[in-house]
């Protein structure tokens, strides 16, 4: 096994382990902290995929903003954070079977796919995916519309969240 494969397995184990803790921990703040670790593991995966930009964006957006927003929301709705009762609903076995089934199905499909074992080809010399992304995002014949719509989506989310959370009835 090459060193990168070992790193991949280690990081995957940490990511999946902490993801499991996210969905099973009773204490909500702890679940949020496990979520942070899991998302950080995914950032390392992005580094291994040679998209460093997405790795840092992952840390900034998910850990720096989303996780903090979640912790704030947990603190605001504090009562249930230490809810002594069970944290899962009665249908959890069905959920577990469904999740395992989907996982099994995807693994089965991936195993049967002829391109599953391919290796990535290195980037050509002088090719900078980050720069290409920057051009693609604002070129009219490429992805200008999705980019601007993302902006409007965020605007709508901001306005919607303000209206939902703070309407005075």
């Amino acid at each position: 096994m090459s060193p990168i494969q070992i790193i991949f397995i280690l990081v995957s184990a940490i990511t999946l382990g902490s993801a499991l803790m996210v969905v099973t921990t009773r204490n909500m703040v702890r679940a949020a902290l496990w979520l942070v670790l899991s998302l950080f593991g995914i950032a390392i995966h992005f580094v291994l995929l040679e998209v460093g930009f997405f790795a840092v964006a992952q840390v900034i957006i998910y850990i720096g903003a989303i996780a903090i927003l979640m912790i704030f929301a947990i603190m605001l709705t504090r009562r249930i954070a230490q809810d002594p009762g069970p944290q899962t609903n009665s249908t959890w076995p069905i959920a577990a079977i469904l999740a395992l089934g989907i996982f099994g199905l995807i693994v089965f499909l991936v195993q049967g796919w002829e391109k599953a074992a391919i290796q990535p080809s290195p980037f050509p010399a002088g090719y900078d995916p980050l720069r290409e992304l920057g051009v693609a995002l604002v070129s009219a014949n490429q992805y200008l519309i999705p980019f601007e719509i993302a902006s409007i989506l965020l605007l709508a989310a901001l306005i919607g969240a303000i209206i939902i959370a703070w309407d005075k009835k």
Partner: protein, 404 residues
């Protein structure tokens, strides 16, 4: 001997190759040694910073500061460290042990990690990743999380309140600060800090003075230093998020804070003051390290100067200042800088610099006018308070004389 770091790296490479190691392992060993040397050096500077900070604050307050131990009291921080190491470590009741212990580690480690991308000299740079500017923001985000962990795990109302205040402040000021970082990135067309320094034939503080000022204010807030030190308002919440930490754990927070200040000084130097650039720094890289640290220390001193000169602001003032003033201002500057930069491609460089500087100065002029007008209005409001409505109106002559 002009470039000892590269010389040592080359010698090490040759030595390890002689031992029969593969090139991959050699680069790993080199990088690991680099990390250890960089981390230790940064921490040594950190211990020295305790002395600098205490000496400077003493001078600001017309005192002498530490002067007993060694020449000029230079050994005082070493005594401090020994004291902290020998103090009892108290874990408060109901604390979440693991998170409680993790928070101070994060507080210092995130600051050390920042130094991985800062170019100390033309050849001495940890990593030249092409997302260096965003990497700094990302590491800062993990630091924010460390604060919230400390506040939550302490199981203390003051700590949690302090953490909330600190985090609200840090995330608010992150917005103008990140946009202020975006402006040097636009000017250099690269996110790698090495490239940003390399392209500063004219320091960016000349091309983008407003961005530099906003970055400095953002840094001050990010550090939680006065006038933005609400998280440790002694009269309200005692010490903020690290109230329950004792001994070396408190020491780690303290060391992290000091080192963070120097790091922001270094980042300011990298983004706006030309980093290691200076006379002869390209041919003698060792000079570059000196220049860089001189600039970083000057900026560290400016940060301390602001800290010890300003009173604390209220939390509503602090957040209003960020969202209603700094963010619109820096967004305007960003738009104008971006368009001007594109329009002026192909023109001689001195015209480019002049136009950039002039546009910034014009914006600054209007901003100062607007702030002055706002301040006058506020002063009038305070000088002429609204008349208090009384249920039974008294004689009108007394009430008018009161109001005027």
């Amino acid at each position: 001997m002009a470039d000892p770091v590269t010389f040592i790296a080359k010698w090490l490479e040759g030595y390890l190759a002689g031992l029969g190691l593969s090139s991959g392992w050699i680069s790993v060993i080199q990088a690991a040694l680099g990390v250890v040397v960089l981390g230790s050096a940064v921490l040594l500077v950190d211990i020295f910073l305790v002395w600098v900070e205490r000496k400077v604050v003493a001078r600001f307050q017309d005192r002498l500061g530490p002067n007993r131990l060694g020449p000029f009291g230079l050994f005082q921080p070493i005594a401090d460290v020994i004291k902290l190491l020998l103090k009892e470590d108290i874990t408060p009741q109901g604390a979440d042990k693991f998170v409680y212990n993790l928070a101070p580690i994060l507080a210092l480690a995130t600051v050390i990690i920042l130094w991985a991308v800062i170019p100390l000299s033309v050849t001495v740079v940890g990593s030249t990743i092409n997302v260096g500017a965003l990497y700094i923001v990302a590491v800062g985000a993990i630091g924010t999380l460390g604060i919230i962990m400390a506040g939550w795990a302490s199981n203390n109302k003051f700590a949690l309140l302090g953490a909330f205040r600190m985090v609200a402040q840090m995330i608010s000021y992150e917005v103008p600060m990140v946009i202020a970082i975006l402006i040097p990135v636009i000017l250099a067309k690269s996110m790698s800090l090495a490239d940003i320094v390399q392209s500063q034939t004219v320091w960016y503080i000349v091309l983008a003075p407003i961005a530099a000022i906003v970055f400095l204010i953002g840094a001050q807030a990010e550090l939680g230093r006065a006038p933005f030190d609400l998280s440790e308002a002694e009269s309200e919440i005692v010490a903020g998020f690290h109230i329950e930490y004792t001994g070396m754990k408190f020491g780690l927070f303290y060391a992290g804070e000091l080192l963070h200040a120097l790091t922001f000084g270094g980042l300011f130097a990298t983004f706006f003051l030309g980093g290691w650039r200076g006379w002869g720094a390209e041919t003698y890289p060792i000079l570059g390290i000196g220049y860089f640290f001189i600039k970083a220390m000057v900026m560290y001193w400016v940060i301390m100067w602001i800290k010890y000169s300003f009173p604390r602001v209220r939390i509503d003032q602090m957040l209003s200042f960020c969202w209603k003033f700094l963010t619109p201002l820096i967004l305007t500057v960003l738009s104008i800088t971006a368009i001007l930069d594109k329009v002026m491609t192909g023109l001689p460089y001195w015209i480019y610099v002049l136009v950039m500087l002039l546009s910034n100065l014009v914006i600054l002029y209007f901003v100062i006018q607007a702030v002055g007008r706002y301040a006058r209005k506020e002063r009038q409001k305070v000088a002429e308070p609204e008349k208090i409505r009384v249920a039974f109106p008294v004689k009108s002559s007394t009430s008018t004389s009161q109001a005027s």
